[in-house]
Every structure is written in structure tokens, then in C-alpha cells.
């Protein structure tokens, strides 16, 4: 599932559940429809509710990265769980996109 929030020039996409080839399509379609309408300068992926991701997620992020680049914007991925961070690092995408792992940029330990 995905919840999109537009705030000034920022679009936040909070995804919950699993990102695989099956779920990536509707996530992509919802984000792209919003992007084309709202033309944000920043796209923030909130991954705090993402329990699983395979390389379909890399394709999803890569495609949105290219889109945002063409629009002069940037993308950030937040609250990434360790296993998902491993998949992202394997792709080398952490060199192109800012990826913040779970617990980063937080002042208190919630666990």
C-alpha cells in the first residue's frame, strides 16, 4: 500500500508491505501520476513500513530517480531496514540516492 502526501515542493511516498514485481507496478503508477501533476523538487520514500524488497524495488527507485533528475529534483529514501539496505547497496544505488537506514537522523532509540 502507498500513501502520498504533497507538501509544498515535496512529495512523500509512504509505502507499507512488500515491494516485489507484483506490487511495484501499482506503486509506480500512483507515484508517477502524482509526479506529473505536482512536479515536486523532492521525492521522499518513507520505507518504515516496508517489510520486504527485492530487485524490483531497485527498478522502482531507479526509474523515479531518472524521472526526478529530468525534472531537476532529487530523491531520498528514509527508514530503510537492514536487509533492504543490503539489496540497495548491492545495486550501488546508495551512490546516486541518499539512503537513510532505520534509526538514522533520530535523537532517541525507539527500540
Amino acid at each position: 500500500m502507498i500513501t502520498l502526501t504533497n507538501e509544498k515542493e515535496k512529495l512523500t511516498a509512504a509505502i507499507t508491505g512488500e515491494i516485489d514485481h507484483h506490487s511495484a507496478r501499482s506503486i509506480r503508477e500512483e507515484i508517477d501520476a502524482n509526479l506529473k501533476r505536482s512536479l515536486p523538487k523532492e521525492l521522499v520514500f518513507d520505507f518504515s513500513g516496508v517489510t520486504f524488497m527485492d530487485s524490483s524495488g531497485i527498478g522502482l527507485l531507479m526509474g523515479r530517480y531518472k524521472l526526478l533528475c529530468s525534472m531537476g529534483g532529487k530523491i531520498v529514501v528514509r527508514q530503510v531496514r537492514p536487509q533492504i539496505a543490503r539489496v540497495l547497496k548491492l545495486s550501488g544505488m546508495n551512490k546516486l540516492i541518499r539512503i537513510e537506514e532505520e534509526g538514522e537522523e533520530e535523537n532517541e532509540d525507539s527500540e
Binding site: 512488500e18 516485489d20 514485481h21 507484483h22 511495484a24 509506480r28 520486504f52 527485492d54 530487485s55 524490483s56 531497485i58 527498478g59 522502482l60 531507479m62 526509474g63 537492514p82 536487509q83 543490503r86 539489496v87 548491492l90 545495486s91
Partner: protein, 147 residues
């Protein structure tokens, strides 16, 4: 190597079965008492292989995807994923990182890279027109023995 337990599952190549395959595999290998990381590695690798079968094995028709799971006596999780689809003409090429035949659909071309790095062994057998078989193996550590 002796087989301690095994299960065979087959399902149609619908993308909704990708999640089912992950769940089935993680349920079966729970018997080995794997760590959270070990089971996540297996789930991710299986997800890649099953997705390949669905997307590339049967690009324009529904076919059957077969999973054969085994627990070997040295605590190896053995997973065979088989389709009878179109096959891969050039396996080494298909296994190159970032190689994809479906760039328009946001496929990253990293499926085999993920399988290779998350599992101990990866074997791919394919014959054009006959189908593809992927064999994944990962040895599960013994917990409680070394702390």
C-alpha cells in the same frame, strides 16, 4: 547428500504468487531454525528467481512454476525453481549485472546478482524453448552451539 525433508509446490505464473512462494519457502526452512537474516536472504533470492520465471519464462502466457525445496543433512537449504517457458539463449549474458531484456518496465537487471550474493551457490540451467531451472543453496548455521 542425504535429504532430511522435502516438499514440492507448483503454481501458475501469476505475479500474485511471488509473495506466496516467499512465504512457502520461509515456512518450510523454519525447521532449520535460521536467523532472521538467513531467512531474509533466502526469501529475497527466491523472489528473484520466481519473478524471473514469471516475467521472462512466460512473457505472454501463463505457465507452471515448480518449486522443489529440500533440507540436506548438512543443514543446507536447497531450492530448485523450474519453469517450462521460453528459456535463456545466453545464460552468462543474462547473469551479467544490470543486463535486462525489460528496461521499460523498470527491471533493474540485478536478479542473478542478488541470488549470487545472498546464497552460497547458484546454478542456472536453461534451454531455449524448453525452460529454465535455477538451483539455489545456502547452508544454515547452527544456532546455540557457538553462543
Amino acid at each position: 547428500m542425504k535429504i532430511q525433508n522435502e516438499v514440492k509446490i507448483s503454481f501458475p505464473s501469476r505475479s500474485s504468487n511471488e509473495g506466496f512462494a516467499r512465504l512457502a519457502v520461509s515456512s518450510f526452512f523454519t525447521q532449520l531454525d535460521p536467523t532472521v537474516d538467513e531467512i531474509a536472504d533466502i526469501k529475497t533470492a527466491v523472489s528473484e528467481a520466481v519473478t524471473n520465471a514469471i516475467v521472462h519464462g512466460y512473457p505472454d502466457r501463463l505457465g507452471t512454476v515448480q518449486l522443489h525445496l529440500k533440507i540436506l543433512e548438512d543443514r543446507t537449504a536447497y531450492i530448485k525453481i523450474r519453469d517450462n517457458g521460453c528459456g535463456i539463449p545466453d545464460v552468462p549474458k543474462a547473469m551479467e549485472p544490470l543486463y535486462t531484456t525489460a528496461p521499460d518496465e523498470d527491471r533493474a537487471g540485478l536478479g542473478f546478482s542478488v541470488m549470487e550474493s545472498f546464497m552460497d551457490k547458484l546454478k542456472v540451467l536453461s534451454r531455449p524453448g524448453k525452460g529454465t531451472t535455477v538451483i539455489l543453496q545456502k547452508k544454515i548455521g547452527e544456532r546455540g552451539k557457538n553462543g
